[in-house]
């Protein structure tokens, strides 16, 4: 009896040790992962090959190692056709081995990135080829959040065509974003999409009405680059006041500049604008305005800008 107890005790200890080791990440793997966190691609290329070689092709560890090596080849400096070509080949391997995995989805996206960005001197940008990769992600991973990102990227390849004078592709890109948002009301990138669409309406289309409409949607959802939205607030105010003659909308954005982005450099001018439009001025500690200032009832709004 005592012998059996001893065997069980020893076995338990061994199991605990083995279990503990399994629960911990392999130190080599942990070290390799740290190189990604440190953006140290050369070290990634040094540490991941042995991990890949020791893993079974298609296994989670193999996918991670192959994908990380592909990313490292994609971004290691100096880049050339060989480094980028190796990255491309390794992304394809990941897709081939596990076509429905999260690794494959991101590999497809990255193949699009390779086509879209100029990586080395003789590299050519191919926006249509990039879009094909993004579309592949949208089709294969339609219910995954990455589909939204792929849609944004695909729309951007259309906008970046800047196909004057009719801008057919630019318009297609904007329409594609709006259609996606309409059919995906919970899209996490909706605010980014509206802002991008608004920018494209503003430039190159000079479609100020639609630009402001898109920015209003961003404003409802919340600005993603919070704290740096001052220039967009100013643009909205200018479009509303100067181009579209919407003083209430202009006043809303001037007020936001004073309250939300007082360091944008435009808060003082926004106060002047509210006075000009005969609109209330919000409280602002920066300007020693402790309580909101109501407009004068006798003063008519003016669109004339005066010099102080």
């Amino acid at each position: 009896m005592r012998g059996i107890q001893s065997i069980i005790a020893v076995a338990s200890i061994l199991c605990a040790i083995v279990g503990a080791r399994a629960a911990d990440v392999d130190p080599d793997l942990a070290e390799a992962r740290q190189t990604i966190a440190d953006l140290d691609w050369k070290q990634t290329l040094r540490l991941y090959p042995s991990i890949r070689d020791s893993a079974k092709p298609g296994s989670e560890q193999w996918l991670e190692a192959t994908y990380c090596l592909a990313v490292a080849w994609h971004h290691v400096q100096p880049p050339d056709s060989t480094t980028i070509g190796t990255a491309r080949q390794m992304y394809e391997e990941v897709i081939q081995q596990a076509p429905t995995s999260r690794w494959a989805a991101r590999s497809m996206m990255n193949l699009g990135r390779i086509e879209e960005l100029r990586d080395y001197l003789d590299d050519k940008i191919d926006l249509d080829a990039a879009r094909k990769h993004y579309d592949r992600v949208v089709e294969a991973f339609a219910n995954d959040p990455i589909a939204g990102e792929a849609t944004l990227r695909a729309a951007a390849t259309l906008v970046m065509a800047y196909d004057a004078p009719d801008y057919v592709k630019v318009k297609q890109g904007i329409a594609r974003l709006e259609a996606w948002i309409a059919s995906h009301p919970n899209e996490p990138l909706a605010s980014v999409m509206w802002q991008y669409a608004g920018d494209a309406d503003f430039r190159p289309l000079d479609d100020y009405k639609n630009a402001l409409r898109c920015y209003e949607e961003v404003d409802k959802l919340g600005w993603v680059d919070k704290g740096n939205q001052g220039p967009w607030y100013w643009r909205c105010a200018q479009l509303a006041e100067r181009e579209l003659k919407l003083p209430d909308v202009a006043a809303k954005y001037y007020t936001k500049i004073i309250v939300e982005t007082p360091n944008s450099g435009k808060a003082y001018e926004s106060i002047q604008a509210l006075k000009r439009l005969n609109k209330p001025i919000p409280a602002s500690p920066m300007f020693d305005i402790s309580t909101p200032v109501e407009p004068s009832s006798t003063q008519a709004p003016s669109t004339q800008r005066s010099n102080p």
Partner: protein
């Protein structure tokens, strides 16, 4: 005759002296290093080290005062400051960062390892998450629930790394430029020691000081500057005289006039060097230059300060960091220093009709930024100290004692620093004709010649008008270069996005979604710099592929 062998034996061999000193020095150094290491590493002690290069008068004692306050609130924690001269700060910090012995908190600057994105991410802790939390040391004021970064007047911009989309530093102060003046000298020259209200008054005072110096048989320069005139001094006038162009030139309606937009305006005839407002601007800065003497650009910072405190200059253009030292040196010399902002032409004075208003300082970024060493064993404590340092109470204490401008909202400045607090009132758009480094080489050298009185404006204008339309050096090259820089920035951001997405794949759910969305937005809205091609076609009526055919893009 004595025995030479015995002689040698009795004589001290000086060769051993050097070796002996070396041995003693080595032993003493080892003991000191060991004691210091044990002191810092001792498990019984909780020591946080903070390194900086601020050796200006008063800063170290100010920092010590904050440390003592903090230690009272946190018994058991010891903060040690390590002031290092800026001449060796970079090498010193590099050595410690690489060897893993860097202080827990380091002032960020000088060293590439503390300033370049690819190294910062390796050696310093990202602070975005913690900067979004309230600062507990503001619990006693109305900012108790406000995110830490929003409690600083610059929104912590001084610690933000655009390329990494992260806060890596916590700024602690502001810097601003002002005119200092010798009240005694001004009173002797004009009968009053009041600061001028207008540009015209200032120039009259300068002339009076010049005349007073001649009467006294002394060479007194009315104005000296520790900083380049074509920059910190000219920009406020550039804004004042040219902000009105914003409506015509700001094509993207972002509220500023980019140098590219100025170039487009120049090429399309919307702005020129002959415009009366532009002429007024250059002539105003030239008027300042006239009061600084011929060859003023050769006067360096030390010389300018020396002339001012030795009463051979009436006005000194310099920054808040020099205030405390300058005032103290002036007091030793027996005069009081006054401070004012650059004045603008007042009603009835020449060029007043072109003035839109003052340049504002609302978008100034904080300075004196500190980061937390990634390999520190006490990162939480280090962040806690930085929170105290930038709480209303801590920041007021630091900057009041150091005589620097405060950064935290509601923190009161010392009397001396009140005129240095950034002024949010005024404008920010300006017409800067200096577009691109190649144009800049011509612009900067020739405009200084004009400001110094070495060349007429026509010489500067001819040189500028030649270079700006030069296909290889001018605005078209600068346009190409800007798009190439933008393309590179976008490509570099791709690396940060790749890191983010890879870490998310390795450890699903670990990604900071907001950070990723922000980086994605910033990248995608820049359209791979292809909008530069579209703009070029639209405004230059030429194919960029022809105009830019000879330029080689840069790849890292």
């Amino acid at each position: 005759m004595s025995d030479s062998g015995e002689d040698k034996k009795g004589r001290f061999n000086s060769n051993y002296l050097g070796a002996g000193i070396l041995v003693v020095a080595f032993v003493v150094s080892s003991i000191v290093a060991t004691i210091n290491t044990l002191r810092v590493e001792s498990p019984d002690r909780n020591v946080i080290r903070i390194a900086h290069w601020q050796l200006e008068q008063g800063y170290r004692s100010a920092m010590q005062a904050v440390i003592e306050e903090y230690q009272k609130l946190n018994p058991g924690v010891e903060i040690e400051q390590m002031p290092v001269t800026e001449r060796v700060y970079a090498q010193w910090l590099n050595t410690h960062l690489i060897s893993g012995t860097a202080p827990d908190i380091c002032e960020l600057g000088f060293s590439n390892l503390a300033t370049k994105d690819e190294y910062t991410v390796r050696y310093f802790l990202p602070l975005s998450n913690v900067s979004s939390q309230p600062n507990p040391y503001n619990a006693d004021n109305e900012m108790r629930d406000v995110p830490w970064k929003e409690t600083l007047q610059d929104g912590m911009r001084g610690g933000f790394r655009e390329g990494l989309q992260e806060y890596f530093g916590v700024p602690t102060t502001f810097v601003s430029m002002r005119i200092f003046y010798n009240k005694k000298l001004l009173k002797a020259a004009t009968g009053s020691d009041a600061a001028p209200e207008t540009f015209g008054e200032w120039m009259s005072q300068c002339q009076a000081i010049d005349a007073y110096g001649k009467k006294q048989g002394k060479k007194i320069l009315p104005i000296v500057s520790t900083n380049t005139v074509n920059g910190t001094l000219s920009v406020p006038y550039e804004v004042a005289f040219t902000a009105n162009y914003e409506e015509a030139l700001d094509l993207d309606l972002d509220g500023t006039i980019l140098p590219l937009e100025v170039y487009i305006g120049y090429r399309t005839g919307k702005v020129s060097l002959d415009d009366p407002a532009v002429q007024a601007y250059f002539k105003t800065v030239r008027a300042v230059g006239e009061q600084m003497g011929r060859g003023f650009s050769s006067i360096d910072r030390q010389t300018a300060q020396f002339k001012f405190v030795n009463e051979t200059a009436g006005f000194l253009w310099t920054g808040s960091w020099d205030a405390s030292g300058t005032v103290a040196m002036a007091a030793e010399k027996g005069f009081e220093v006054g401070v004012f902002e650059l004045p603008l032409p007042g009603p009835g004075e020449p060029y007043a009709e072109f003035i839109r208003g003052k340049a504002n300082e609302a978008s100034s970024s904080g300075a004196g930024s500190y980061g937390v060493y990634k390999n520190s064993k006490k990162t939480e404590q280090a962040i806690d100290f930085l929170m105290f340092l930038t709480s209303r109470r801590g920041n007021e204490l630091l900057n009041q004692k150091a005589e620097w401008p405060t950064l935290t909202i509601g923190a009161k400045s010392s009397e001396l620093m009140k005129p240095f607090q950034p002024n949010p009132r005024g404008y920010n758009a300006r017409v800067n004709f200096n577009y691109g480094s190649r144009v800049g080489q011509v612009f900067n050298s020739r405009i200084i010649n004009y400001y110094q009185g070495d060349e007429p404006f026509s010489a500067f204008k001819a040189a500028y008008e030649e270079v700006i339309v030069d296909p290889r050096r001018g605005g078209d090259w600068a346009w190409w270069n800007e798009q190439d820089q933008r393309r590179r920035d976008i490509r570099n951001k791709e690396r940060v996005l790749a890191q983010d997405t890879t870490m998310e794949l390795i450890n699903p759910g670990s990604r900071d979604q907001n950070r990723y969305r922000r980086a994605l937005l910033q990248q995608v809205t820049r359209n791979n710099a292809l909008d530069f091609y579209w703009l070029f076609r639209k405004h230059r009526q030429m194919e960029p592929s022809e105009a830019w055919a000879e330029f080689q893009p840069v790849f890292p």
